[in-house]
């Protein structure tokens, strides 16, 4: 049986003819398969296998729990993850019920996200963002208030939510971050399910959109970061907004109340996300008017006037909060705008300068580790836009209008990304913008999947499996795939990586920092690399970290000799954790040279992390 070409579901179409959405083609009936028991087993077996493998991943991750940095996140877990992904595709192959597909998709993405939280003793990630979030949640759990002087002091929504879970469950902050955060982010497929249920969409297309929502992995997939949480809140606002615009009269008032609450949650939950949302929603009425000029929208500007009201409320709440309560964040925002306008010295270029020194293959490996899944989502979304445009006359009017609105949002986000590239202004957090853009790709990429499935279910299944496998290398950074330092410097080993994407907080570093806190007075000047400095912030808290005032210092010998410092915190890349500095100043031979220098005393040694005292 050939799948229908019509993308709309039963009832509501732009064209008057109605065609029931056809079910997927079943395998030819044989006498054996007609036996009820066989039918039941073949229906539930994939679900059982999926469930058991998911549970096994949890078990194995707990059993393999470790306190050091291994080769990559999926070390010792990879076979189970591989089988789990195959089971997921198998389930999708057999399952046609949209709500069940939503449950499986949410379980799939949640279990993958749980792996580092179960496998590592400390919350995954060593960047300053993770450290600030974790220490803020910890402070709320200890005192009921966030620490003063951080960007999140007056935008504490995410930390309040996780802090509450930690306090009530009486668990450590690392476990709350590693377990509760993935659970909450697992709501996104359900939000997309709720949104798509407001429209008349072909069931198969709807299923593909929901499947895509599980496969559109944000760039910060494994990390505690404000952006994914902001994405969740933006998605919630959009879901409630579009449901309200197109929903029945009975649910207008409750959806309005929920919508207003969601905007408050977004304003209090993540500052940058609410700012980005305002910029996008501000442009929507204008953009819709422009679009309407060129071709008639099925629902004339209804969504435009709704967007205007939404924009007004959001701007009033946002401005009030930022200017009167969250002044610190407001000043940071103003400074960023000023640095953009005045073309002041930019901290980071959009494209790292070292890119020109590497070969094509090395660049591809790095590119795929950072953008593999994003690239495929963007490609599928681009193809999907074309497919949806081609079938636009078969789309239901509401779905058609909603797609246009979402497309305009994607266009706005893409514009910001391209604009950042063209202006050379790298401060706008490139991966953050990508994260916002990726979450909307399912609405368009789903059409591409629908087309593949229409042609051949087998090809569709194989394509899904390939898509997941190729994405694994981005979402679980495959550190051994990153080029080694020998690509650029002959004297550096191949297993000393140019870039660390796999970033684990380890007991080596924790114990070294405990030593510093216990045995070294804050009046002394302390130097370290960037990762250690950020880890100190996380373990000591903002006040003590400020009191110690660790200064960031790379391990270049000339800088060490000339710098003013009393103690140096040193570690080797690998078991003790990563580095964010360039390879030539932190490779093993450099560390050995420093350790054997006659200018320093070694006062602490745990085999991977050291404390040096200047003579």
């Amino acid at each position: 049986m050939i799948l229908p070409k019509r993308l709309s579901g039963q009832g509501e179409t732009a064209v008057s003819t109605t065609t029931a959405a056809s079910p997927i083609s079943h395998q030819p009936q044989t006498r054996f398969s007609q036996i009820a028991f066989v039918k039941n087993v073949s229906a539930v077996l994939p679900i059982w296998v999926f469930g058991i493998l998911g549970w096994l991943i949890v078990l194995v991750s707990l059993r393999e729990r470790r306190n050091y940095q291994d080769s990559w996140v999926l070390e010792d877990v990879f076979p189970y993850v591989l089988a789990f992904c195959a089971a997921f595709v198998w389930v999708l192959f057999r399952e046609t019920h949209t709500s069940r597909i939503t449950v499986f998709s949410a379980l799939f993405v949640t279990i993958l996200r749980l792996i580092p939280g179960l496998k590592y003793k400390w919350a995954y990630g060593t960047a300053v963002d993770q450290m600030v979030h974790i220490s803020s949640i910890q402070r709320i759990m200890e005192s009921g208030f966030p620490p003063a002087g951080t960007p999140y002091t007056d935008i504490p929504g995410m930390h309040a939510l996780l802090g509450v879970i930690g306090m009530v469950s009486e668990t450590a902050v690392d476990d709350v971050v590693g377990i509760a955060f993935p659970l909450i982010l697992g709501l996104i497929p359900f939000f997309i399910y709720f949104l798509t249920s407001q429209f008349r969409i072909n069931d198969i297309l709807r299923n593909q959109i929901i499947i895509m929502s599980a496969l559109a992995f944000d760039p910060y997939f494994l990390l505690i970061q404000g952006s994914p949480f902001g994405v969740l809140l933006i998605m919630l606002v959009l879901v409630l907004f579009l449901s309200r615009e197109f929903g029945s009269i009975y649910i207008q008032l409750p959806l309005t109340i929920a919508l207003l609450g969601s905007i408050m949650a977004l304003t209090f939950g993540h500052g940058i996300s609410s700012l980005i949302f305002i910029l996008l929603i501000a442009g929507m009425p204008i953009a819709l008017r422009v679009v309407n000029k060129f071709w008639q929208l099925p629902i004339r500007n209804q969504i435009g006037s709704g967007a205007s009201r939404l924009f007004t409320f959001t701007v009033v709440l946002f401005s009030s909060w930022w200017m009167y309560q969250a002044r610190g964040v407001f000043l940071i925002f103003v400074n960023q705008i000023w640095s953009f306008i005045s073309r002041a010295e930019v901290e980071k270029a959009p494209i790292p300068s070292r890119v020109s020194e590497l070969g094509i293959i090395d660049l591809f490996l790095i590119f795929w580790s950072l953008h593999g899944n994003i690239f495929m989502m963007a490609l599928l979304a681009g193809i999907g836009v074309f497919i949806l445009w081609w079938h636009r006359n078969t789309l239901s009017p509401r779905f058609h209008t909603a797609l246009i609105a979402l497309f305009l949002i994607e266009l706005g986000l893409s514009g910001m990304l391209v604009g950042q590239l063209l202006t050379g202004f790298g401060n706008l957090e490139y991966f953050r913008l990508l994260g916002y853009a990726v979450v909307l790709t399912p609405f368009f990429g789903g059409a591409a999947l629908w087309l593949i499935r229409r042609k051949s279910q087998l090809v569709w299944g194989a394509f899904l499996m390939l898509l997941i496998l190729a994405s694994l290398f981005q979402i679980f950074p495959y550190q051994p795939g990153i080029p080694g330092g020998d690509r650029l410097f002959a004297h550096i080993r191949s297993d000393e990586y140019l870039l660390y994407l796999h970033t684990v907080v380890t007991d080596y570093q924790k114990n070294m920092l405990d030593y510093v806190q216990t045995h070294i007075d804050p009046t002394y000047s302390i130097m370290s690399d960037r990762v250690t400095k950020d880890e100190a912030y996380r373990f000591w808290g903002p006040e003590l970290a400020t009191e110690y005032g660790i200064r960031y210092q790379i391990y270049a010998t000339a800088d060490l000799d000339e710098g003013e410092w009393d103690y140096l915190l040193l570690h080797r890349a690998g078991l003790a954790g990563p580095f964010s500095e360039q390879i030539e100043v932190r490779h093993d031979a450099q560390v050995d040279r420093i350790l054997s220098s006659t200018d320093y005393a070694i006062v602490y040694d745990n085999g991977e992390s050291y404390v040096l005292q200047r003579r």
Partner: protein
């Protein structure tokens, strides 16, 4: 607390603190004649639960009350209670259900409980099964500027500590050398797993020549090793 128990605690708490209030609020907010299927109800419950927690948590912080279990739980409990009362007033308590039939629900809960017990027992036989095995070795008191001086008795006192993270009992020796000469070798030091040893090593000062040009090397050996396992260095300072 063992990680498996932590997992369950966080799971259950997230459900109770986020999902349950949101779920009850969906019945209070939305008209009873609007039927949501299970997945829609779950989406709304999660969304409303997240909104409630963020707004209440932020309000408690901003109003200087503080976000504690004693402030948060009564607040969200009150809102949830109001939601239940509103649902009852609208005649909807009979509809309040988990969306599944009882037999399926009980068998699902029973299955999850069995799964949970197995999950709790299976990895909990060895906590942190893949913990890295290492020891820490450090000077409890450092000298000023990396230098250590003799005391009033003409000796150098080194206060040292060994922390055993080897996951098993370990035996160490400490050797102090200077310019290739062994000045001190300790007796065997036994340290139980997950504990530490603090001790002092006394070195008579007159034995050291060329003190300023060579560091004191304090080497830690494990019973099983021939090579130094850990190494500290300190410089000898001028008198006083």
């Amino acid at each position: 607390m063992h990680p498996t128990f932590t997992l369950f605690r966080v799971l259950v708490t997230t459900g109770l603190v986020v999902l349950l209030p949101g779920y009850l609020l969906t019945y209070a907010l939305f008209p009873l004649q609007v039927e949501f299927d299970g997945a829609q109800r779950f989406a709304l419950s999660g969304g409303l639960g997240v909104i409630l927690s963020i707004v209440i948590g932020t309000a408690l912080i901003v109003l200087n009350i503080g976000l504690t279990p004693n402030s948060f739980l009564p607040t969200i409990g009150s809102i949830t209670s109001v939601a239940v009362i509103v649902t009852w007033w609208r005649g909807g308590l009979g509809i309040l259900r988990l969306g599944v039939q009882s037999a399926k629900l009980y068998s699902t809960i029973a299955f999850l409980l069995v799964l949970g017990v197995i999950t709790a027992v299976f990895p909990s036989t060895r906590p942190l099964n893949n913990a890295e095995q290492y020891s820490e070795f450090y000077l409890i008191e450092q000298g000023a500027n990396g230098l250590i001086s003799r005391n009033e008795n003409d000796v150098i006192m080194l206060k040292l500590s060994i922390v055993n993270n080897e996951q098993t009992k370990a035996t160490y020796t400490i050797q102090v050398t200077h310019a290739g000469q062994t000045l001190h070798e300790s007796e065997m030091i036994s340290v139980v797993s997950e504990s530490s040893w603090d001790g002092e090593i006394v070195i008579p000062f007159p034995e050291i020549e060329n003190a300023l040009t060579n560091p004191l090397e304090i080497l830690l050996f494990r019973e099983i090793d021939d090579e130094p396992y850990r190494r500290l260095t300190i410089w000898i300072g001028q008198d006083g």
